[in-house]
Symmetry: C2
Subunit: 202 residues, 2 copies
């Protein structure tokens, strides 16, 4: 594959990520993707085979590009293990805000039943293990309550995911809270105290 071909391949992929993320598999059209990528329609079939193969390629692309736990987050959590919940939450929220494509594509994939989910988690597993070590150390240091790592991670992932995937609904539900930002701060703080032992903050 020549240099020029690689570039157009990437242009297609970027357009696909953008449009699939915005409108889903059935909502986005090959014509739109081709137009946004400034590429002839047929190139898409030449490089990706079919619409569904393009979707999976786009999904994998996003997953490999984005690291859920940034170096900063892990380093920060290492220094202040008693605040690990707040730090990781803030990290999650930041990543999701910076890459809305990520959770949207994942949401579409889950609803539409994409098949490549195994490959996705392979990429994520290694990241998880680094965090697990930090977390379990904090638990045995009696900084955190003795809740299993899986439950803790699941809760944080769930809260973050829910905050974004139900934004439309939440605006009305959580009345009394004026802004989304306020809600995030409140949630982060509350969850942090929830998972922390009482003597840790002394």
């Amino acid at each position: 594959m020549q240099e020029r071909a690689k570039k157009t391949r990437i242009r297609i992929l970027e357009a696909a990520v953008k449009l699939f993320s915005a409108q889903g598999f059935h909502g986005a059209t090959i014509d739109e993707i081709a137009e946004l990528a400034e590429v002839n329609k047929q190139r898409i079939y030449a490089y990706f085979g079919s619409k569904s193969q393009l979707f999976e390629a786009a999904l994998l692309e996003v997953f490999e590009r984005i690291e859920l736990f940034s170096h900063d987050t892990l380093a920060h959590a290492e220094k202040h293990p008693e605040k690990i919940t707040a730090i990781v939450m803030e990290g999650f929220l930041k990543v999701h805000k910076a890459h809305p494509d990520l959770w949207r594509l994942l949401a579409w994939a889950n609803l539409e039943g994409s098949l490549c989910t195994e490959a996705l988690n392979q990429a994520r597993r290694q990241e998880n293990e680094r965090l697990r070590i930090l977390y379990e150390q904090a638990v045995s240091d009696n900084l955190l309550r003795p809740i299993p790592f899986e439950t803790w991670l699941f809760t944080l992932l769930a809260v973050t995911y829910f905050r974004f995937s139900n934004e439309l609904t939440l605006v009305h539900t959580m009345n009394g809270i004026s802004s989304m930002q306020k809600m995030e701060r409140k949630l982060t703080a509350d969850l942090n105290t929830l998972f922390t032992t009482e003597n840790a903050t002394e």
Copy 2:
């Protein structure tokens, strides 16, 4: 509108719920819905106007039909306020399992940016308030940790939603846990201890 017309209207609505929930707005087709409802295509436009209007009608239908906190759940929680977290979680999971249409339709609506979300929450608000009273009583009785009601409810809703909307992904992520049911039980138990004060269980 005659009796017969009402029935066909309902048949259309039920078919719409089923197919929109399964395949989303763009994925489902009017022809399929008409076929499943055993109704002439034209009747759909006679009663609902357009595809998008049918979608919103289907969404509202599901929301009004399903009560998120059943009478059983609330009664049970009233008797055992120290187990309110586990009880409500189990209730949520049960409702979601019994009505997969609910969260799927909501997920599609959120992704596709439906506009009728305001109406949805109006229906939910009253239910929330009954639960709030129970919860806040349990907090002031020192059975639960002093976490705001909103954060508590948000967490439980998020965990439940996440469990269903990311089922495909989770099967691989949470390795070491053999079945989904085991995971649910673990999560429920852990969250319950998390939100309960230590003296409550004594």
